[in-house]
């Protein structure tokens, strides 16, 4: 039941994303130039490729927002199979690139991409596509819910052994949100929560280093952890705290002078909070919330269940990642490496993000609601 009368895309989503991306790119430059000078000897070594990625990602956005989203349904099984293939490929010793002890990248030299990024989107597409046709059997645990759970656990399993804990969490959360919205029984979720909690507690008890992590999280300034486990989080807190209400001013962060390792990466929000203060930080969070609100509005008004589920999937993917990142850098949860959408420097993730935003905007063109 295609709506032939295509409407304009959702302005709020577009505006929020463009604002976030612009601010993000400025912050990448601000936070990276001293690092670049010190490590590479060229203050543009990080911002230059980032600008290129931004350009590419905007082109990708332009393409996907004009590409009829319904077609993704048919392609999705192939994409998912391909993603799984790549996820297995990246694990083969010698094929995937290893950085900081994690084997997450495929490619040559610096031209690399993370299969997990593709996996996130293709899982959203496939689940939305499949569930839109099988909503009625979802109430059954074995016939409805279980196959999807197995699929999620299987993909998460491939990602977690890279290891890529934050990627795993995002994939799982997004998957569960789609299942929840598609109409899975609440009682099933409650029943599922028990083994999940037990597994987490067990994981902490089994590996003592995780216990240390939790202790470092609860008392980051403890001299025992300060120079090691919690060095990043301590310096992140010092950066955010130094910002005060109005911030030190754009470009004036002190903590980016190598106190925060790789300040243009996972901890870029701390530099932003230091430079732009509470006001700047709040504006960024509100922009993300605007994006989420409009994404959900698109989902609610989508012409079909497939569009609706894909909209909530993409919105959740970005929303969960953003909130997780801010929670980590503010030491609200134990730290794990997770990047901030539209802010953290990096090619693959940005391109796939904009890929997803494009799909969301395309869905909005078929939705029936007041746009302004």
């Amino acid at each position: 039941m295609k709506n032939k009368n295509k409407k304009p895309f959702d302005f709020w989503i577009f505006a929020a994303v463009i604002l976030l991306l612009s601010l993000g790119t400025i912050m990448v430059f601000s936070s990276s130039y001293y690092f670049s000078v010190k490590e590479v000897g060229n203050s543009f070594s990080i911002i230059k490729p980032q600008l290129l990625y931004m350009l590419i990602s905007i082109i990708v956005l332009a393409v996907t927002m004009n590409f009829d989203y319904h077609k993704w349904g048919k392609i999705s099984p192939i994409l998912l199979m391909g993603s799984i293939g790549l996820l297995i490929l990246v694990l083969i010793p010698g094929v995937g690139q290893v950085r900081n002890g994690a084997q997450r990248w495929l490619g040559v030299g610096t031209k690399t991409f993370q299969p997990s990024e593709l996996a996130k989107l293709s899982l959203i597409m496939f689940m939305s596509f499949s569930l839109s046709k099988r909503r009625d059997v979802l109430k059954s645990f074995t016939k409805g819910l279980l196959p999807y759970l197995i699929l999620i656990v299987f993909i998460c399993g491939l990602v977690v052994i890279e290891p890529h804990l934050s990627g795993t969490i995002i994939i799982a959360m997004t998957g569960f949100i789609i299942l929840f919205c598609a109409g899975a029984k609440i009682s099933h979720f409650v029943a599922l929560a028990i083994p999940v909690v037990l597994a987490v507690v067990g994981a902490v008890l089994v590996a003592p280093y995780r216990f240390d992590r939790v202790k470092a999280w609860l008392d980051p300034f403890n001299i025992e952890y300060k120079m090691n486990e919690s060095w990043q989080i301590v310096n992140s807190l010092l950066a955010i705290g130094s910002g005060g209400i109005f911030g030190r001013g754009l470009g004036k962060s002190m903590q980016k002078y190598l106190y925060i390792p790789e300040p243009y990466n996972d901890y870029i929000f701390s530099v932003l909070a230091e430079e732009l203060g509470f006001l700047g930080s709040a504006v960024v969070l509100i922009l993300f919330l605007v994006f989420i609100w409009r994404g959900i509005k698109v989902a609610m008004n989508a012409p079909d269940v497939f569009g609706s589920l894909m909209a909530i999937g993409i919105t959740s993917l970005i929303g969960v990642q953003a909130l997780f990142n801010v929670a980590v850098v503010t030491n609200s949860i134990p730290s794990t490496g997770i990047s901030l959408p539209f802010f953290s420097a990096g090619g693959t993730s940005l391109i796939f993000l904009m890929f997803g935003v494009g799909i969301l905007l395309n869905i909005s063109r078929y939705s029936n609601y007041e746009r302004f």
């Binding site: 039941m1 001293y34 010190k38 839109s132 949100i177 929840f180 919205c181 598609a182 109409g183 807190l237 010092l238 950066a239 955010i240 705290g241 130094s242 910002g243 005060g244 209400i245 002190m254 903590q255 002078y257 190598l258 106190y259 909070a273 203060g277 509470f278 930080s281 709040a282 969070l285 509100i286 993300f288 919330l289 989420i292 609100w293 959900i296 989902a299 609610m300 008004n301 989508a302 012409p303 079909d304 269940v305 497939f306 609706s308 909530i312 959740s316 929303g319 909130l323 801010v326 929670a327 503010t330 609200s332």
Partner: protein, 731 residues
């Protein structure tokens, strides 16, 4: 395909709610970090983001009461490095290290080690001269060296080296006072350090666009002491001479105090040390094995040269304590100076207490009892007062508490808390309890000034750099102990002790001096005697001058003169007499001669000029001056002309000394051999010298204990040789 139904929309709204809730939580969390904890994190961040080099403030000067500097701070410099910058911003680190090593005269390896440290800041060398600092600066400029800093610093200098060492004290390398006034007045002298703050990255590298902040140090205030440099010098010289003349083994102390306000004019303790190198090896220590900083070495320094005996050590005061007993008796009306007393043996609890000359002055007045220093007289007086009353005076005179002097480490007394009859009996003449010298002079101060016990102190004022008084030490009267009348009576008695009693060796014609001698054995005395050594006595003399209007109290204590039986007054009294003479003369106090004084003075005559006169004229002139003569030369005719005389005119001689008259032009004046007069009386010694044709300069009374020129040596005929006599007796 069906459009999203109601249940899907509900769940989507629920998801929106969850996202909104968590977003709100995070906004709140960020606000908490940035607004509630912002200050704290900002401070912590600032501390790690800035490298701070300290600039020492200039420590305040310590002056004597006449503004003569005793401790001054000179400007020096300190060299520090930022290791990271030195490593990364210089082309040739090795060259930097060797250049620095050469200018600072250090080991290159030491510097390289510091350059390789992972710190933000390393100290290379402290307290270098300004010109060395300039050399480093020039070298830096010439060779484009980065990461080395030359900053201001100060160094303490003591212009008078050993003078008043224990009072002034010294500082450590960080300019913190660690002894004496330097320690006690730390808060005033120190000042507030300044800082140079520069922004650095996490590795300690200074940011090129970073700001450098300079916080000016605040210099310390100056301290003015009550000490008079000149009087201190007199006191130290006198104490040193007394120690060397009497083979004193454990050193001693000399204190001069103004009894009117408790100001200490001089306070010295020997052995002492050079304030400019307080940790140098003391005499008799192996310099090679000495560090001056090891625990062992520091303990040794604290036990010896650093020890301020006037304040830190306790001793038995002996007879110098008797005036306290006398004061109690006079104040209570138990006795008057003219009361008849007896020094017959006193028996208490099986102990007999005798006078030093047992039962020699059976009947005497109390005044004479003090002159003769008869122990039984004081025992009986104390008994008459009773334990409670007697000890209430001991307490009132301050012997149960520290004086509160503004010098570190003051010791408390060791004195009976629940005294018995025998305790009191021995205490009445100053035995079997221990006090500090500063406590005794405080008590003498009260006797001198009309009865007020005043806290002794060495700090007079604290002033800032423009001379404004920040703190002024006013005399602090602890309590009134005796009446003015008692004070006057007692001073009169003490003057008698010096005029005609055991203290007469302290007499200075023209000045009214009151004083008391003291001797006490130490606990180890008997043991030393068994070992065949001399007993260890502590001898002392405590004085007040002038007695009619006291301006100084003086106490000199000598610990262990290596003499068989030193007899308190004899040994120390002349030292104190001479010291008082010097101080009062320096203070411009006119000498007023009594008839007695004149008689004493008359014993000395001035040699007239007889050169060029006939022998007859010369003999007449000498006779008029009560001098004898001897003619040298073949021409003994009365009309012969005197070609030369010895001693020369204006020299001072005792009556009946000889002047040699030469009737020829002597190429080499005739010589005479000095006789041995040891242990002879004044009379015997004078005769022996006369026989040899040498003049004697009599110093003291009693028997000869030393002579200026050794027996057997030759001197010119008619020369004057000083011989020291002493009354050897116990008191």
């Amino acid at each position: 395909m069906a459009s999203p139904n109601i249940s899907l929309k509900k769940r989507l709204l629920f998801i929106l709610g969850v996202f909104t809730f968590f977003t709100a939580l995070l906004v709140f969390r960020i606000g908490w970090i940035q607004i509630a904890n912002g200050q704290e994190y900002q401070q912590k961040a600032y501390e790690q983001q800035t490298n701070n080099r300290t600039i020492s403030p200039k420590r305040g000067t310590i002056y004597d009461r006449n503004m003569k500097p005793l401790a001054v701070s000179g400007s020096v410099e300190t060299v520090t490095i930022n290791p990271q910058m030195v490593r990364e911003l210089n082309k040739d680190v090795d060259l930097v290290a060797s250049g620095l090593a050469e200018i600072l005269e250090m080991q290159k390896d030491t510097i390289i080690k510091k350059i390789n440290r992972k710190t933000q800041y390393e100290l290379i060398k402290q307290k270098i001269d300004k010109d060395v600092g300039s050399q480093v600066r020039e070298w830096k400029k010439k060779n484009n060296v980065v990461g080395i800093f030359v900053d201001e610093d100060t160094k303490r200098f003591y212009p008078n080296s050993n003078l008043a060492a224990h009072v002034i004290g010294f500082t450590n390398v960080d300019n913190d006072g660690i002894d004496g006034v330097e320690k006690m007045m730390e808060q005033y002298l120190k000042g507030v350090p300044g800082k140079i703050l520069s922004e650095v990255d996490a590795s300690g590298m200074e940011l090129t666009m970073g700001e450098e902040k300079y916080i000016q140090p605040q210099d310390g205030n100056d301290v003015i002491l009550t000490i008079d440099e000149t009087i201190q010098y007199f006191a130290e010289k006198a104490l040193e001479k007394a120690i060397s003349d009497n083979n004193v083994i454990n050193g001693g102390t000399a204190i001069v105090m103004d009894p009117r306000n408790g100001e200490l004019l001089a306070l010295t303790s020997k052995p002492d040390f050079d304030l400019n190198s307080p940790r140098a090896a003391p005499k008799g220590k192996d310099k090679a094995a000495w560090t001056g900083t090891s625990t062992e070495d520091v303990q040794y320094l604290q036990k010896t040269v650093w020890r301020n005996k006037a304040v830190v050590d306790t001793y038995e005061p002996g007879s110098t304590f008797k005036p306290v007993t006398a004061a109690a008796g006079l104040e209570e009306g138990a006795i008057t100076p003219e009361t008849q007393v007896t020094d017959a043996t006193v028996k208490i609890a099986g102990h007999s207490i005798n006078c030093w000359k047992p039962n020699a002055h059976l009947h005497e007045t109390f005044r004479e009892g003090v002159y003769n220093s008869c122990n039984p007289v004081f025992v009986r007086l104390a008994q008459q007062l009773g334990i409670d009353k007697f000890y209430s005076y001991v307490k009132a005179f301050g012997f149960y508490q520290k004086t509160g002097i503004d010098l570190p480490g003051e010791a408390g007394s060791i004195i009976h808390t629940k005294p018995t009859e025998i305790d009191m009996a021995t205490a009445s003449f100053g035995q079997r309890f221990q006090i500090t010298p500063i406590q005794l002079i405080q008590a003498y101060g009260a006797i001198a000034n009309g009865g007020d016990l005043i806290t002794p102190h060495v700090v007079k004022e604290v002033v800032d750099e423009s001379g404004n008084v920040i703190k002024k030490v006013e005399p602090k009267v602890v309590r009134s102990v005796i009446s003015r009348q008692t004070s006057d009576t007692l001073k009169d008695i003490l003057k008698g002790v010096v005029d005609v009693g055991t203290g007469k060796n302290a007499r200075v014609p023209g000045y009214k001096i009151g004083g008391k001698t003291g001797t006490s054995e130490t606990r180890e005395s008997e043991q030393l005697m068994v070992q065949g050594k001399n007993k260890r006595y502590i001898v002392s003399f405590s004085a007040i001058a002038p007695t009619d209007n006291p301006v100084i109290c003086v106490l000199v204590v000598l610990d262990y003169p290596d003499i068989y039986n030193p007899g308190g007054g004899v040994l120390v009294a002349p030292v104190v007499g001479k010291l008082i003479d010097e101080i009062l003369t320096y203070k411009g106090i006119e000498k007023e001669y009594t008839d007695d004084d004149k008689k004493l003075l008359k014993q000395e005559v001035q040699v007239p000029d007889v050169k060029g006169k006939t022998v007859k004229e010369a003999i007449n002139l000498l006779k008029q001056n009560k001098l004898e003569y001897k003619i040298e030369g073949s021409n003994r005719d009365l009309s012969a002309i005197v070609q030369e005389q010895t001693p020369k005119s204006t020299a001072l001689l005792h009556e009946n000394s000889i002047v040699i008259l030469y009737t020829y032009k002597p190429t080499n004046e005739a010589e005479a051999m000095v006789p041995d007069v040891k242990n002879k009386t004044i009379n015997e010694a004078t005769q022996a010298f006369k026989k040899a044709g040498i003049n004697i300069d009599i110093n003291g009374t009693g028997t000869a204990v030393s002579q200026q020129v050794e027996a057997g040596k030759t001197v010119k005929k008619g020369a004057v040789v000083e011989v020291t006599f002493r009354n050897i007796f116990e008191d």
